[in-house]
Symmetry: C2
Subunit: 349 residues, 2 copies
C-alpha cells in the first residue's frame, strides 16, 4: 500500500512526493524501496503488487524499476485501506484461486529485518492452511498514544486469538495497556490466504465485494483500468481495520518484536533517531547547535542549519518550504498545510 | 567603498557575495546598485570610483555595467578604510589636482533620497573652497548603541565644527547623547576637496601618504596594478575615523536627516522594516506565523516559511545555510561563521 499523502510530515512530505517515496534517513533508499527490499527474500518480486494513487504510478516505477507496469495498481481516488486491499485481492484472484497474501504499508520503519522475516515465515505457515485473518502485533516498548492497540486472549504462545481492537488511547489508558502485557501495537500488517480474505470481504463488506466481483472478467486484462475508474470512486471510504478486522471473529495476532515504527509523526521520528549530547536529532544535513536542545532538524543534504536558543522544535525544510514548529504542536501541521494551500494558491502543497 | 564582507549578516551575506551585493529588500536592486543610483544626479557615472576587494571586481562590473574596468579599484588585501580612501585619492590625483570628493559606504540604506541630495549639494558647495574635512552627521532618532557619535560645537547652523568623535556608547551614555541635542550619528560619509584630504593624509598618516606618493607615475596607467599589489598589503590596517578624522582640527559636520541606517545588524534591519500585526518582519519570501511574534524572517524569494511558537528570532536562509537565532544573540553570529568555517572546512562561508 503506497497511496498515502503523508501530510503530517509536510513540508518534508509533499503532495507530489509523499512520505513513502522519500529518503527519510539519507541512506539513498526511500521508505518504499526499503519496504520492497525487505521482502525480497520472502516474496519473489514478480509477485509484488503495489497499490497507489494514479498520480504516483510513474514514481513507483521509477523507484522500483524491476516492476512490470501491471504490478502497479492505480487508485483513481483516495478511499482508505479496505478498497485498496479489495482491489489487490481481486487482481490476485484473476490469476489464481490459491495464494498466501501479505499486506503491508510502504512507509514504515523496521530495524531488525531478520526478526521481521522470521515473523513472516511463522505467519505464512500458519495462514496457509487456516481460515484466519492474521495481524502482526508489535510488542509495545512504551505507553504510546499514537498507535491503535490489539488485546490478545490469554496464553503463552506468540500466536493468539484477538480479543479486541482499540483506537488510539489517552496516556492513562496507554499506560494500563502497556503494563498489562495483554496489548500489542496494531502495525497495519496482515497475512491471510486468498479464500479467507474473500470470504471475509463477502461477509463484512458485501457491497464492496460485489463491486469487485462484477469485474472478474476484466481484471488483469485490458478492461481493468476502465472498470476500476468506474467503480473505485463509488467505493466506501473505510479502513480494513474498521470495516473488516474489528468485525470478524476469525482474527489472530502474531506477537512480534523487530524494531518497528509507523513513522507517523515527527515525534516518533525524533524518538527513534540518534541524539547528540543535547538530545538534538539531525537528519541528512549538517547542523551546529548553540544553547539548543531537544530539536529535530532536517534539511536537504549539503545544507547547514545553525540553531541558537531553540528548544524542542521541529525544523524541516524541503524544496520551497521551511517549517519551524514546536514538537508538541505538530498536530497543527495539517492546518498549516491547509492554510498554505488556500493562502498561496497551492504553490506550497 | 565596497570591500566589506558583512559577516554580521551571515548567512544572508556570504564571503562570495557580501552584504553590499545583495538585494536586501527584494526590490531587484542590490545595496551597491541603490547607492550608485542615489548618486546619479549628483556625480556623473564616469566620475565614480568603486574600491573593493579584488575578488569582488567581477561582481561590481556585473552589477554596475556602465563602469569602465578601471573605475573599479581593487584591494589585494583587507586594510580598513584609510588605505581604501588613500588609494582612491591617489587615483584621482593622477588625473587632476582639483576635485571635490564624496566618500560613501555602499551598503547603507537611505530612505529620503531628495533630502540626501540636498545635503550633498550643501556639503559640496562648502568644501569646494574650504580647507575642511566634512562628515555627514545624522540627527539621531533614538539612543542607539550601535553607532559612533559626533559632538558638534554650539550653534544653530546645520554646518558646524566638530568637538569630539566618540565610539559606540553604552545605553546610559547613548541616552545622554540623544537627549543633549549636541550629538549626531557618525554615518561614515565624508566630503572634502582633493588638496584638503591630501594635506590631511600627509599630516596624520604620513607613512601611508608616502607609500601612495611613490606610485604617482604609474597610477591610472599600466603599472598601477603591480604597484598596488606591492604596497597595499604593507599599509596599516586603520580606519579613516581613527587615523585621520579624530586627529585633524579642521573637521566639520553637516547635520542631516534623510532616513539613514547603516544596516549594521539584523536588529537594525528589523527596526526599520514594516511589521505585521504581531510585530513580525518578512523580507522577500512568503511567511505564515502561528503563535509567533517579533521575528524577522528572510528566505529566498519563492519560498514559504511557516513559524509556530517562535518569539524574537532571526530566521535567515541563503544558499546552503539556514540560521535560526534569537535577535538578542546576534552578536554571536561572527562566532557561528568562524565555527562553521573550521568545522565544515569552508563549505558554508
Amino acid at each position: 500500500m503506497a497511496g498515502g499523502i503523508g501530510s503530517r510530515f509536510w513540508p518534508f512530505s509533499r503532495n507530489d512526493k509523499p512520505k513513502q517515496f522519500l529518503d527519510f534517513f539519507g541512506t539513498g533508499r526511500s521508505l518504499l524501496q526499503m519496504t520492497v527490499d525487505r521482502f525480497r527474500s520472502v516474496v519473489p518480486i514478480e509477485n509484488v503488487l503495489i497499490v497507489t494513487n494514479v498520480i504516483y504510478k510513474d514514481l513507483v516505477l521509477e523507484q522500483i524499476p524491476e516492476l512490470r507496469e501491471n504490478q502497479v495498481l492505480c487508485e483513481p481516488a483516495r478511499r482508505n485501506t479496505a478498497p485498496c486491499i479489495a482491489y489487490a485481492v481481486a487482481r490476485i484472484y484473476s490469476e489464481t484461486d490459491k495464494a498466501n497474501i501479505i499486506v503491508t504499508p510502504s512507509d514504515h520503519l523496521i530495524l531488525q529485518e531478520e526478526a521481521f522475516r522470521q515473523s513472516l515465515q511463522t505467519g505464512l505457515e500458519f495462514i496457509e492452511n487456516n481460515n484466519v485473518l492474521l495481524t502482526l502485533g508489535m510488542k509495545p516498548t512504551r505507553p504510546e498514544t499514537g498507535y491503535g492497540y490489539i488485546q490478545m486472549e490469554d496464553g503463552d504462545t506468540a500466536l493468539r486469538k484477538v480479543k479486541t481492537f482499540t483506537e488510539k488511547p489517552n496516556l492513562e489508558l496507554a499506560k494500563t495497556f502497556y503494563e498489562s502485557g495483554e496489548f500489542l501495537w496494531n502495525s497495519g500488517m496482515f497475512l491471510w490466504n486468498l479464500q479467507t480474505i474473500m470470504r471475509a470481504f463477502a461477509e463484512h463488506l458485501p457491497e464492496l465485494a460485489e463491486k469487485f466481483a462484477a469485474g472478474r472478467d476484466v481484471m488483469g486484462k485490458e478492461g481493468e483500468e476502465a472498470f476500476i475508474q468506474a467503480i473505485f470512486p463509488t467505493c466506501p471510504n473505510v479502513s480494513i481495520d474498521y470495516g473488516l478486522m474489528e468485525k470478524a471473529d476469525n482474527v489472530s495476532v502474531l506477537c512480534a518484536d523487530f524494531g518497528w515504527s509507523d513513522l507517523g509523526t515527527w515525534g516518533s521520528l525524533y524518538d527513534l533517531s540518534r541524539k547528540d549530547e543535547n538530545e538534538n536529532v539531525t537528519l541528512k544535513c549538517d547542523t551546529a547547535f548553540y544553547q539548543s536542545k531537544g530539536n529535530i532538524v532536517t534539511l536537504p543534504k549539503g545544507k547547514l542549519a545553525v540553531l541558537q536558543g531553540m528548544e524542542d522544535y521541529i525544523v524541516a525544510e524541503n524544496d520551497n518550504v521551511l517549517l519551524i514548529c514546536k514538537k508538541d504542536a505538530e498536530q497543527q501541521i495539517r492546518q498549516f498545510v491547509n492554510d498554505a494551500q488556500v493562502r498561496f494558491d497551492g504553490q506550497y502543497n
